[in-house]
Symmetry: C2
Subunit: 275 residues, 2 copies
């Protein structure tokens, strides 16, 4: 397997960074992640847009043009020749001379076989917990997951698949996923503010235009507890039904029809994108 | 110059980490920093205590005993033979197999010549700005400095040396320093909650027991503006007078007597520690 590390391709085993890099010294960097099937990259334009947007928010200059980055991605895909995979692209604060001030950014790209949600997770839904927190730079996909990783023990103890952040009772997002609820009036809601603009979230907002009523809105934790359906979205997980939030059963403990309907529509959208 | 990287000493130029390390992937790690003069390490016990405390808060197992770590530190000092220096010791989430779950922690140690505050900064004081923020894990010295680094442009624009965080009008700390104020009743105050327990902060709390009245307390931003004196503390900076906070002049724009008195006492404490 090959990776791309600071201007060149390396075997993954040799993919190293000098420890002066600002990701190591100060956790400073952004990233993006996208899916690949054969040679097709799903929603590449959206992911590249967001990658440059995250870099801009965090004041990191990208040391390559968009076309150069696309070139590296395609070269990596050719070299590794995987069937179904994900590529993670990290941009760090670079080799800082004083361990604090950013330097020329370092670009890293790694490709891995993809782990999609299990049939069990889709058929039976997952349980989630909630935790008071909001990301520091929600609209930038930064590498700072201190809270998400710190909470892994809590997930395990609760038998939960993920943790939904809230601040002042307004929910925002999961560490790596967006949240949606379906109200008892069959309106689909997703938090409007202080969230990462997920590519799957964006696709669902497009889908729902036709058949469903969809709104970006502030959602309280209590509205999540009372929702008819709850689901989470991400590039890897697509749409995953949530059947329990903390100690409240949602949707009678079964994936709901709106959630499953949207998942089918999303799968069709992916097929169309891959043509 | 030598560094210590994952179980062994390397020349600093060869000090690399595989990119699967959780610091690179997710900004997950803790660190500590201490001063060395010749072979003397200042307040080593305090720094080791805090290093292990930070690791514990962040649920990172330290893969060596305290005695082993001291051994590495002394070996590094022998190898590099610097006159006046600082050692930074980082503990990361390790080489994660899935880019999210921690593995065996990696220990990194680097030694650098020390940059102490300039005579100008001590004689004339520095200006600071304020910014609404509180660290996610204030009592752990994590590597996450996203906000501090993001604010570097603001410091530059304001001609400020540092930025004081506050949340709901209660001030906490600087990205890398603690804050103290002296009230018009000559009481010395430092924030009690949501701050890193700095070693210099701890030393000052000890000093002031004798001569001054000192309290750990909640301090509002307005109390900082109105203070008779303001100063910041850290291992590198020791005590640095603050003469302007945002657009408010403090202490008639000159370092105050309590600040300078404490700096002299701190220097004597360092001398005693070095014996």
């Amino acid at each position: 397997m090959f990776s791309f590390v600071v201007d060149k391709f390396e075997t993954h085993a040799s993919a190293v960074l000098h420890i002066s890099d600002l990701a190591v010294q100060r956790g400073y960097g952004i990233f993006d992640f996208f899916k690949i099937k054969g040679r097709h990259i799903f929603f590449l334009a959206d992911h590249l847009d967001r990658f440059f947007h995250s870099a801009k928010i965090m004041k990191l200059a990208v040391p390559y043009s968009r076309e150069q980055i696309k070139g590296f991605i395609f070269e990596l895909i050719e070299k590794n020749a995987l069937t179904e995979s994900g590529i993670k692209m990290i941009l760090t604060g670079g080799y800082s001379t004083d361990g604090y001030n950013p330097a020329r950014s370092n670009l890293l790209m790694t490709q891995h076989p993809l782990t999609l949600p299990s049939a069990d997770q889709i058929d039976n839904g997952v349980r989630i917990i909630t935790h008071p927190y909001v990301k520091e730079f929600p609209e930038a996909k930064t590498i700072n997951y201190s809270m998400g990783i710190w909470l892994l023990d809590n997930l395990k103890a609760a038998g939960a698949a993920d943790v939904l952040y809230y601040e002042g009772e307004i929910v925002s997002e999961f560490p790596r996923c967006n949240v949606f609820i379906v109200t008892h009036d069959n309106v689909i809601l997703t938090p409007a503010r202080k969230v990462l603009h997920g590519v799957t979230r964006k696709n669902i907002l497009k889908l729902t235009g036709a058949q469903y009523t969809i709104k970006e809105a502030d959602i309280t934790r209590d509205e999540v507890y009372q929702a008819r359906e709850v689901f989470l979205t991400s590039t890897t997980k697509r749409i995953l039904p949530v059947v329990r939030v903390d100690d409240r059963i949602i949707s009678e403990g079964q994936p709901g029809p709106v959630t499953l309907g949207l998942l089918n529509e999303l799968l069709r959208l992916e097929e169309r994108d891959a043509v």
